[in-house]
Symmetry: D3
Subunit: 284 residues, 6 copies
């Protein structure tokens, strides 16, 4: 259960702890525009699975290293040489290739879903290029920010595939215009901050990467200062409720809070509110 | 079944009938910023349950008394002294406290849901402070308005709890930015009219409370002038469909209208349309 | 299976093929503001059902003929004289009329749903008047555009009915403000391009009909230039996912792509991407 | 919160407490074969709502008074004279009568559903005649017993209605033959103990009413001797899971037990198991 | 709307009307064990779609002609020569063949689902051989009967396919043993009347075909003598409810009956019940 | 991907390969009645996850070692000393213990669900004692067998907990009597083969363990002789469909088979059928 912070070492990711209770995960392959090779999404999954139950962590910022890209998406050259698409071996039965492709998709999806399943909130900062897999990952995060110059694109249609790692399943739940969601998925066109803010894909825009990182860290710190019991419950119930009926959401909430309202955090928070002090909360 | 209008007398609510077929429900505890004590949400439920089947009522405006707040939310002081949180008695078994808390949450949720279940449309006007429970209630209404100076906040996270009376279950269905919804729920920060309009939480903004009340009453009158059969059906089908598949929505609609299209109101409405007269509709 | 293009001849619809792989369907009853009589929605269904599996077609633009209206909706005069509402025959048992009305609604709904079920993406351009049925049809399309002067209205409430052909089931999933959706459905008021863009009902606005048609055709051409396997999959998965949980969406996607990732289109698309050439894709 | 047992006095119901933690609810209108008039289902609802949170009660047996019937169903004569069907007033608009009928059905359904929502398990003993409403009520109970001579029938089809108080919604989930369920609902034919046991409608059959009451009471006592925390959770999770996916069921269970596994009852139960003593559990 | 009975003429089906309000549909290709070729399932769909709204029909019996088989399933020889499986053309792209196969499956499924969607109840009598498609069709019917010598088998696994026309989707909802359902689907083994009755696949068994036809016709006559409003509603609500939650079922039922309880049939049925006469009901 | 069979070595499990394509997994802690300690359910998960994609395996038999028990369930002594219930540490905040218990339950559930997710069919043979966890595991298998002397019990209620590893979520979907399912879950009473067969919990009963193992192995061999593409698809679609609507099941099936019907296995199977030879199928 112990999860020492110094052990978060991965070739393509920097994991740092800029302030108490806050983790900063940085995709770190800037010379390739942070494009993903297979080991990277496996590592992404491992990192967020560990942070999820890391008792000192309460909020996470996810960015890309370097000035040029959050990530340009899947490293297509690498993928075509070996990993993702090499099931296209024509000597094999179509059904057997299908089974292999499905197993692969489920495994890949699970890696991205690890961000959504992470108990602690995740803020994704899209800067520079944010193509394809960038959108898949960002949609599995809770809060999305970008900069004035971010270039975003749901680009999978341009390489002949229907995006299968989450964008098509999550985008219609994340933004307020189904027409727009379909347009960008079907045309693969690039869009920017104004449009992303208008349709609600992002909820904040920084002037440049520096300012946006600052915004993201401050937001993470605000969240990290709250009761972690309340924060974890809020994320879980929002995720549960967003694609179920209101009745189902209410029923789940009532059960969830049957335990959670017994927390000491409520007393601490209320008292601090009255006394204008900063409450201290135990690890979670 | 008779529901005489003069009997809508409740200590903390004013219920008036400013024009034909329109009810105005006012939360009336202005000296405490309209903060809710337990009896109030029970009364809220009773009022909307009665208006729901009151045959003379066709649209309802919900506001807070006084200039300062729609409602500042739960009266935390009162709650901590007796009602909501006193199940936290440590002498009791954790599971038994959990059962008690769940019973309480279900009861409380049902009171707020009475606004959603009210057959007649409800317009909520958020003005001044609209914190915590204010958002829970407003999300159970159909249409939300605010003023240029309304201060809104999903504040529960600040007292150590995941909001359990409806905000977390309804907000993701009500607005067009999941990123924004999560941000305000996780940070508890205050936001204003511009932001609320941009994400779609409100669909109209008045200059001040006076103008906004006027907007709300006019909208209520417009709705009250329509066929109540059509209005009640429209609310019911929208509520049913918003969190179900399109197929389910269509199937329910076809059954609903199998009775409702036999109404005399269609003839009256069409005829009035052609003759440019105002149609009269029977009570519902 | 052969579906010769010259045979798309219908009294009230023009079907043309302005560029390779693109169909343009025009509602053609301009002297009556393109109002719908019964045969028209049957034809609409037939046209989109045929285009759906027409192997040369990859994207479709839907407009109304003439400068004045996309469509003003159901031809109420015609409907009251014979078709839709004549089940209101009082000599018949209420339950039997209900059965007849339900049969009729299901049939009518299925016609509109043919646009949604069309495998190829549909862009609806709302111009001039777009009332009632116009919104039902546009919501069954994938992408919606309008012009600066389009006048839109969910008008059914004004003739005493809850819209039953799809608007109430699809609108809450299509836009980002439930408050706004309820307001326009309950009041029947007219709204314009600014509002439609803000809430996300449309994702693009042209200066006038000419410019908007141009926008629509260009967008159709962009889509038609992509792999049809990717485009058809993208539409299907978005439609599937938009009103289901993320888990369900991911599961369906993984199965869908188990066949579709075996397409030759991926190789063609990737190669063209590297060689900066235009890929050619087989019929679908 | 106090719920003194001596106050369960209702004209048409006997509520007794034959052994510790066990309540026996008896429908008591034997001279009319326990046929239901309107006040009775309102009382039924009230009784089970009270028993649900009555801290001394842990299991409930539901029977009919007298030797002849559990209940012969709705008192059709009374119903035709005033209550249920008098909305059929032809002077009123069809849609308005429809609204009234729907309000009535929802209210009536809620009364029966109170048995299902009762937190404590309910054992229904069907004896003698068990027609129509008898099946609706029994299906809302948890466990069903009958005697060798019980005559059961889903009889609503014989009076021209599709059963709307729960049988059609619950029967397909309760028994193991959809073919049989449809047959008895569509033909209204009488069936007996053998058939009911074979398809799983009942899980036990007594020789006669006396023996079956004994069986029911013993079963209630067995359940009442278990941890009430475990029993209430078992009922709730079974009801939740039976008509949802396994994934949903597991997710809900994990949350439910996050509080409930903290109960003292587990220690008491385990210790008693090892020591072969009878555990004592606190009230719930 | 007129649907003259003498026009039900199809090469491979006999449609007769053995008694008032009852139709008897007989699969008529006995020399080939009633094996299905493509035109047959299209005709099956057409027949049941017509009977569904044929106002004189209230119940339907479905059998196979000749003594040897209800149907031995798909005519595999014919299918392999042209229809169903010839999409397996290796010159075509895998994805395009997949699209063609999916279009075909959806069309084929819709034909079988026409039996389920038929508003009037369908009794399927499985006799002799009832293999593969026989089970798909029977599961789309409402009530299943068989004879002492019927040989049944979910045989698709033996020709290398997962049954895709409905058995795998309907069987788990139709019988009371998931273990048994999986066993017969995974092994393809033949089972007989005893087993089918025990697990609930059939609800009645005749000594031989003659007796079973007699049973089926009598059952159809019993149903045809009830109020068609009640019968149609009972089928619809059972089908709706069987795979949805109880809450959803109850909600749908309340709306359904808001129209249907206004039928004259209730009065007729009640009066006939009191007067011991046979009620007459209008067409539906 | 290579998964050499000789490496399936686990302290408490024997994994053998009694015939081609068949694996036999034996719970191997007979001196403790095969009671489970924590490492065992982790191993169970690992074994079935590996067998799932082991290309030579097509069917799996699961039994317990020794004559006395399939498994007597959780090793309660071990659990109370350290693993499962030690979150009951009273020094910790209730909410934090709840989070820990929920994390634990989800992890534990996932281990059992690995049996359900195993792509290849699993036959569970319940013999001797089959208590608590035995039922959880057996319900995650596809087919259940038992012997004349098997003693089964859903025993969790006796130790004060609502069974949370799957029984309460899966049992109501697996058997044909909700009354019986609730009875055995609420009373914890022991039941035997006759009852299990009657309600459909098992679909076959052997005279003794020896005969039942023989039955299980023969059934596994029958399944292993079929096309693995068909078998894997049949399991997946049955699992998908059993707790969803028929419409959803059909839609998923059509997509699934769009790839799978392109398999060579169909040709092999059909040819073998005609030639009365045994087909050979490639690995999966």
């Amino acid at each position: 259960m112990a999860d020492p912070q110094d052990s978060y070492e991965y070739k393509y990711f920097n994991v740092t702890f800029p302030s108490e209770h806050v983790a900063h995960v940085e995709i770190n392959r800037p010379e390739k525009l942070n494009a993903f090779v297979e080991v990277m999404w496996q590592n992404l999954s491992k990192i967020f699975t560990r942070l999820s139950t890391n008792p000192t962590i309460r909020a996470i910022l996810l960015t890309g290293a370097g000035p040029r890209a959050f990530t340009s998406g899947l490293d297509v050259v690498a993928a075509s040489q070996g990993g993702t698409f090499d099931h296209n071996d024509n000597s094999q039965d179509v059904a057997r290739r299908a089974v292999a492709l499905r197993r692969h998709a489920i495994e890949f999806q699970a890696c991205i879903t690890a961000v959504e399943k992470c108990e602690k909130p995740v803020i994704a900062l899209l800067h520079g290029l944010a193509y394809g897999l960038a959108i898949d990952i960002a949609l599995a995060a809770d809060i999305r920010l970008c900069t004035n110059t971010t270039q975003m694109s749901v680009r999978e249609v341009d390489i002949g595939i229907a995006a299968d790692i989450g964008t098509l399943s999550r985008l219609p739940h994340a933004v307020g215009s189904l027409s727009w969601a379909k347009e960008v998925c079907l045309t693969g066109r690039v869009f920017g901050a104004d449009e992303a803010l208008r349709v609600g894909l992002v909820s904040g825009v920084g002037k440049d990467k520096g300012e946006a990182v600052e915004m993201g860290l401050q937001m993470a710190e605000v969240i990290a200062a709250k009761s972690p019991v309340a924060v974890v419950g809020t994320k879980e119930i929002l995720n549960y409720s967003k694609d179920r009926t209101v009745e189902e959401g209410l029923r789940y909430t009532a059960v969830w809070n049957s335990a959670m309202l017994q927390t000491e955090d409520i007393k601490s928070a209320m008292l601090s509110g009255l006394q204008k002090t900063t409450p201290k909360f135990s690890k979670l």
